[in-house]
Structure formats: C-alpha cells, structure tokens
Amino acid sequence: MAIGLISALLFLEGVLNLLTYILRRVLYLIPMLLIITFLVYLGLELMPGDAIDFMASPDTIAMMSPEDLDNLRETLGLNDPFIIRYFKWLGQIFQGNFGYSLSTGVAIKDIVFDRLPATVELATIALIFSSLFGSLLGVLSALKRGSLADNALSIAGMIGVSIPQFFFGLVAILFFALQLHWFPHGGRTLPGYETFLDRLPHLILPSLVMSLTMTAGVMRYARTSMLDSMNKDFIKTARSKGVPEWRVNLVHGLRVAMTPVVVLIGFRLPMLIGGAVVIEQIFQWPGIGSEFIGAVRSQNVPLVMMISLLSVSAVLLASVIVDIVTALLDPRVKLD
C-alpha cells in the first residue's frame, strides 16, 4: 500500500517535472522570438532601398517627384523610423493582424494559407523518405562496416552531402524533363487537375531531388552514430550476457544511436512550414519558400516578417520537441 502510494507519487513527480520543463522551455521561446524577429527586421532595414524601389522600373522611380514618393511611402507606412515600424508590426501581430502584402495588398494570412499546402506536400514526402531511407541505409552501412556496400554508400553519401541542391535540381530538370520528357519541368498543378494523382507527375522530380539530398545527411549521421554506440561498454555488456546479436544491434545499439538522428530530423521539421527555398525556386513550386524569396527580393517587409516568424517559431518549437524526445529516447538525459 505504502509502496504503491510512494511509486504513484514518484510517477506524479516525474510527470510534473516534465510539465514544468516543457512550460519553462516554451516560456523561453517568447524572448527568443522577439529577439530574432527584431534581428530579421533590422536585417531588412539594413538592405539598401525599400519596397517602393521594386514596384516600378528604376526609370519610373527616378522620375517620381519627391512629394509623390513621400505620399506613397506614407500610404505604405514606410515613413516612420525603424523602431516605431517594428513595434507597430509587433503590436499588430499580438492583435492577430498579420498585415497585408506591400505590393498587392493581399492579406498575408491568405497568402500563407494558400501556399502552405504546396510546401507541406513537398516537405512531408521528402522528410519521410529521407528519414526512413537515411536511417536504414546508415544503420546497415554501420553494421556492415568496411564492406563494399558500406563504401559505396559512404561515397554516395559524400556526393549527396556535397552537391548543392540547386545543381542537382537543375541537372534533374535538364535530363528528366527537357531531354527525356518523363516529368514536367516545374509548377505544381495545371488547369483541370483535381486529384492528387493528377498532380503526382509534378511532385516526383522536386520531391525526389529534395529527398535524395536530404537522405545523404541522415545516412551519414546514422552511420557514425551507430558505429559510435556499437563501441560502447553497454553493448559489450549486453553481448557478454549472451543477448542475441540482432537484439544487441536493434534494441540496445539502435535506441541510443537514433538520438542524434532524431535531433537532425527534428530540426528539419520546420521545413514543413518554412519551405525548401532552393527546390521551390528551381521547380517553380508555388510554396512558402518561393514566396519568401520573392518577398525578400522586393523588400515586402510584412510578408518576409510573417514567414520568418512562422519558420522561426517552427524551428524553436522543433528544438523543444527534440529535447523532449531525446530525453525520452536516451535514459542518460535528465530533465532539468
């Protein structure tokens, strides 16, 4: 009875510990977010020119009278000093008003919701594919260390990690779209498309390029970390206790080896919201990433800020989740 009560209390304490830990981590996010958004805003401010420079050709702008320019700046709210503009923006965000695109006046909320499905679709496929294959190949390569397969995978991994995504993407377009005509060269949909199957051909090339380059990273991580954990004392102990080899590998070795891999994958989660800037740009994919590039180029401050805020929140949340999952996976990590 007393033992039961004590263990229940201990369990409760554990849960409470976890909850306070999560709460504390989430509260930490608020100052972090403020600082980062401020720095992004500052970065945009330090770029030469402003949104007006991108609304018409330089010749047109060079001919606009100072009064006209000033009026336009006033309408767009660009005349206030930097600090005031930042706090105005922040105030609006706290009121749930995400603002309007400077160039077209479309509500940023609408733009984000419109682009999000495309980004989520591409990123989900790439994440699942790269995580599964990356871990699998990495672990296999570690277990068969020194074999032909391991060497081949290592070389492929090195190539995958070192070739930039944009180059890989361009080569893929050149061969598979322009030469062989197997897949469309870009875009996500065409008129008349209704189902996912209609869109599938458009999805294959970008998601494959993104998946493959991401797989390489996971694979190399998984291999190193698996090798590392296989040399640990507890593995030797398990072996000496006569635990079957597969159990040593999968239960004892893999569980610990997966921790850094989970960290890597966790930090890739924000891609679901932030988009893959390079891939989306190359494949004319109408997602958050390509929108972000356009917004930065045209100094569309409210849009850049909103997308940054979303991505940064996602990154920070992901880091919290990674910490919690690491704690659950690795018995050595203490919640503190």
Binding site: P31, G105, P286
Partner: protein
C-alpha cells in the same frame, strides 16, 4: 541558456542603437538637403582649392561634343550588349515615325575629341562626377568602359550609384534657371527614358519643367516645347518635335548613348497573320483575336508567361505591360503599332474639337463585361473619376485628368465628381480646363473599369483592391481559373465586339514574366508560345531554342547621359 539570451539581448540593443542613429542621420539629411550640399561643396572646394584652375565647363557645347566623340558606342553595343541595342544620335530612335533626318552622328573620333577639348580649354585635372541609379552589373561594366574611353582623351571621371531619394538628387532644379548655380552635385547622370509619347523625352528640357535640374533656359527650345504642349493637332506637334530634335542634336544638351529593343518571343506554333509587331509594353492593335495557334492535344491553347503571383497587376502604373491587362481590358480608343491613337474601340467613335478642349466619345452599344453586365457610358464616367484619385497613376494619364474642368473641386472634396465629365445617353463629353496634348493617348492606353464592381471602394487604395484577385473586363479573353504563383487560364470572350478570324480558344499562363529566368526554361519545355521582355541574356538563350523565334522591336527607350550645364556652387 540564460547567458545566451542575455548575450543576444545585448547584441539586439547595440544593433537598435546603431539603427536608430543611422535613421536619425537619414532624416536630418533629408530635411536639410540644402545644408548637406554645402557641406559636400566645402570638401570639394578644399581639394580643388590649391591648383586654382577654372572649373571645368560643361555648358560649353564643344566639351559635350568631345565626350560624345570620345565614346565608341558602336564597339560597346557590339561587345557589351552583344549587338542587342542600337546606337543613336537622338533621344528619339531613328526608326520612330516622328524621328528627323539630317542629325549629326558624333561617331567615334578621339582625335577630334581631344581637339575640341583643347579649344574649349578643358581642365584636364578635373574629375567628372558621373552618377546612375541602376543596380545591375552591366551598368558598372559600361561605366568602366566609358571611363577608359574618356581617359584616352585625357578626361578623368569617377562614377557612383545614387542611393535613397534618387529624384531629389537628380532633378532638383536651380532657383535661377538661367545662371544657376546648380542645385545638384553631379556632372553626368547615366539614365534611361521610356517614352510613351515624345513629350516624355523632351518635356523635361523646358525651363519650367519641375525636373529640369540640368539645362539652362534656351528660348528657342522652350518655344518649340510650348508648341508641343499647347497643340492638340498632331502635325503641329510632329513639326515642333522635329525642331526640338534638331536643337538637341546641335547643342547636344544630353549625350544619347543607345536605344534598347524589346524582344518578342514566339513559338513556331503561332501564326500572327501578318499583324504588325509593336511595343508590347503598351496597348496597341495587336489583333490577338486574329492569331492562329497549332492545336496541342486537340485544343487551341496559346501558352504564355506572366501568371500573377499574389494578385493580378493593376493597370494604373503600366496599363499595357502585363499580358493579363491586355487580355482582360479594353480602351476607349485603339492605337496602332507606333502607339498613335487611331479608331474608336470601346467608343464607337470620338471627336476632338479644334481647340483640343472638348473630347466627345460615342460609346459602343451592346458591349458586355465578362460577368454579363452591360458596359455603359456610366462606366466611362466612373473610371475617369476613379483614376483621378489613384495615387500611382502615371503622369501622362494623370495630366489628362488634371486638365479636366472641375478636377480641383473634385479632388478637394467640393464636388462629388469631375464636372468636366458629362454623360448623356451613350455620349460622354469631356471638357478640358487647359489643353492636354496627350488626352487621346491616355484613352488609348488606360482601360475602362467596371463601375458595378468598384464603385464602393477607395480609389486611393486601388492597387490593393480585392478586385485584382478576380478582375473583370470587356476584353478579348476572360479569366476563368487562377492558381496564384502557379498558373492562370483565360477563355475567349465569345461576345467580343471585335470579330476575329483566329482560332485561339484558351490562353494558359505559367509564372515567369519579364526578366525572370523561368521564361527561358518554360520556353525550352514548350510552354511559351508568346511572351516579351527586354533582357538581352534571355533573348540570346531563347534564340538558341529550335522552335522559338525572337523578334526584336524598336521602342522608345533610350539610355543617355544627362549633362549638368549649370555651374556648381
């Protein structure tokens, strides 16, 4: 963790401090631009003080001609611009129907340049201050080349990009338009003029022009410009513009460098039926209803670029630059390939009185908006009033509306509408307070908008109106489907009032308009049947694609050196 946060906070505070002080500097600069220039002047004085030489004199035409002779534009065009530009001796391109013959060419002649500089007693120690506002690498390359050419005749120059309020730094006129001194601090300004009418080229050299920072009063020139501004009669305008071109060439008030071309990209699938190519950046009779396209998968689809990213571009700044606006909307008056107003369009006919102060439109019967509503004279009245309050409206259209009787009263709220616009049945009568030489041009470029969809909206936020998510017009093609940042589809308007013999049923747009690398990729993949742009690298790449043709078109776009002929303080 805590350490990290406090560190970041310190950084942020530091940054904000720096940012604050830099914005403060900006505002003081802007508010005391007068004092600012004096500060700069004292510094230049102190450096030029010691030699005690006369300040170089750009008001001497021999000096300006020497610069023109010193620069080998032929070679630069062939090399730097890969032959995709045209050297010019005038702001008006030679192919323009309003250009004049018999102008001096100032072809490359460094010996003559040196001789002229000697004669003019040029101060060879003086360093020319050359400015520009373009951010591209080609501009820098051109500046480096010109620096070398001028150096070869002994003239020193430095160049810099103007940042911030370019207009104020470039065009602030001096208080005394005859003797100066100059209110700006540069010697030569590399710039471009995109002209819809020749007024855009030459109006800025008049004494009274609010942007004439560079050219002291020339009475003969002023007189001719006056004629172009006060005559509705096109032949009188043309004659005066001819005189202006001669004066500008004789005095070389600016150094014209080259004309840019526009490139029309067409696939082999398209047959334009011999319709003349014009300046696609504006509206003219391009006859798209007469174009034929080879069927693909059994459908007569024309592929093009320019699908909207966030919303459809509104036509106030550039009425014809975007293909979407050409498809969706119509104008009251049609223009030909040289952008000269010709027949009525949405107006069955129009008449301009001899004094140019009364313009009467007879509105076409039976025209329908794409949503089925009738297009009426009220729409015309509405559009003119609406445009009057749109802040981004370009100067040509703005001047037309400003010239209407009752514009002031309308703008300051004394009247609900411009009294100079009167509707009577199918007739719209415009009465002008003062003559506007470009009234017909305005109504041949800026489209008519639907009153029933816009009347309750705020014209000062016209560009941000939700109407631009799904624009409705009377034009040859109607928007049927759009996926922003992806594609847009237009179907032929079966009720269109201009009968066409062409077979295009559908126009499908991918994203990637002018100056977007996508246009080349999309063309390579077969998704461009028609598009246009000004980028030389794009044109070069598309030329290489086997089923694509590149048609260069001469347009009124000229790059030049403005010369500051006022003495520096």
């Amino acid at each position: 963790m805590k350490k990290l946060i406090s560190l970041l906070l310190v950084f942020a505070m530091l940054f904000s401090f720096v940012a604050c002080s830099s914005t403060n500097e900006k505002t003081t600069e802007a508010s005391n631009s007068g004092t600012n220039t004096t500060v700069e002047d004292t510094t230049t004085e102190s450096t030029t003080e010691t030699p005690e030489k006369p300040v170089a004199d750009l008001s001497d035409p021999r000096v300006r001609k020497a610069f023109a002779y010193a620069i080998d534009m032929e070679t630069l065009v062939a090399g730097l611009f890969e032959g995709k530009a045209i050297t010019t001796n005038s702001l008006t391109p030679a192919s323009d129907e309003w250009s004049v013959d018999g102008l001096t060419d100032y072809d490359y002649n460094p010996e003559l340049a040196k001789q002229l500089l000697e004669e003019a007693n040029w101060d060879f120690d003086y360093e020319l201050d050359v400015v520009y506002y373009y951010g591209d690498d080609q501009t820098v390359d051109l500046m480096v080349a010109i620096q070398a050419y001028l150096d070869a005749v002994g003239v020193k120059m430095t160049f810099r990009k103007i940042e911030g309020d370019t207009a104020a730094q470039l065009w602030t006129p001096p208080t005394d338009p005859v003797n100066g001194p100059s209110a700006i601090d540069w010697d030569l300004a590399y710039a471009g003029i995109a002209a819809l009418t020749l007024h855009d080229y030459y109006g800025r050299f008049e004494t009274a022009a609010s942007n004439n920072s560079h050219t002291p009063t020339d009475e003969a020139l002023d007189k001719q410009i006056e004629i172009t501004n006060t005559n509705a009669d096109l032949t009188a305008q043309e004659a005066a513009f001819g005189e202006i071109q001669k004066i500008m060439n004789e005095e070389l008030y600016v150094i014209p460098l080259y004309n840019q071309q526009l490139f029309i990209y067409e696939s082999d699938r398209v047959d334009r039926n011999g319709i003349a190519y014009g300046n696609e950046q504006y509206n003219y009779d391009w006859g798209i209803t007469n174009w034929n396209v080879e069927a693909r998968d059994g459908k007569n689809v024309l592929y093009t670029g320019g699908a909207p990213v966030e919303a459809f571009p509104a036509p106030f700044v550039n009425p014809g630059l975007d293909i979407t606006n050409k498809l969706i909307f119509d104008r009251l008056i049609q223009a030909n390939a040289s952008l000269t107003p010709t027949d009525g369009m949405l107006a069955e006919s129009y008449t301009l009185s001899d004094d140019g102060k009364t313009l009467v439109f007879e509105i076409r019967d039976g025209v329908k908006w794409h949503d089925g509503n009738e297009f009426t004279a009220e729409d015309v009245e509405f559009t003119i009033n609406y445009m009057g309050k749109v802040p981004t409206l370009t100067s040509i259209a703005k001047n037309t509306i400003k010239s209407l009787a009752g514009y002031e009263a309308y703008m300051n709220g004394e009247a609900d509408s411009i009294s100079g616009v009167v509707v009577d049945g199918n007739t719209v009568t415009l009465t002008f307070e003062m003559l506007d030489p470009n009234a017909l041009v305005t109504f041949s470029q800026w489209p008519m908008l639907p009153k029933h969809l816009l009347e309750d909206s705020d014209p000062t936020l016209a560009e941000q109106n939700a109407f631009w998510l799904n624009p409705v017009g009377t034009g040859p093609f109607a928007l049927t489907e759009v996926s922003f940042n992806d594609f847009a589809v237009f179907e032929r308007n079966e009720d269109y009032f201009i009968e066409g013999t062409g077979n295009i049923d559908t126009i499908q747009m991918t994203i990637g308009g002018e100056n977007e690398g996508n246009i080349v990729l999309n063309a390579e993949a077969g998704y461009v049947d028609y598009a246009f742009g000004k980028s030389v690298p794009d044109a070069k790449s598309i030329e290489q694609i086997s089923n694509m043709n590149v048609v260069p078109v001469d347009i009124r776009y000229t790059r030049l050196f403005y010369v500051n002929k006022f003495p520096q303080k």
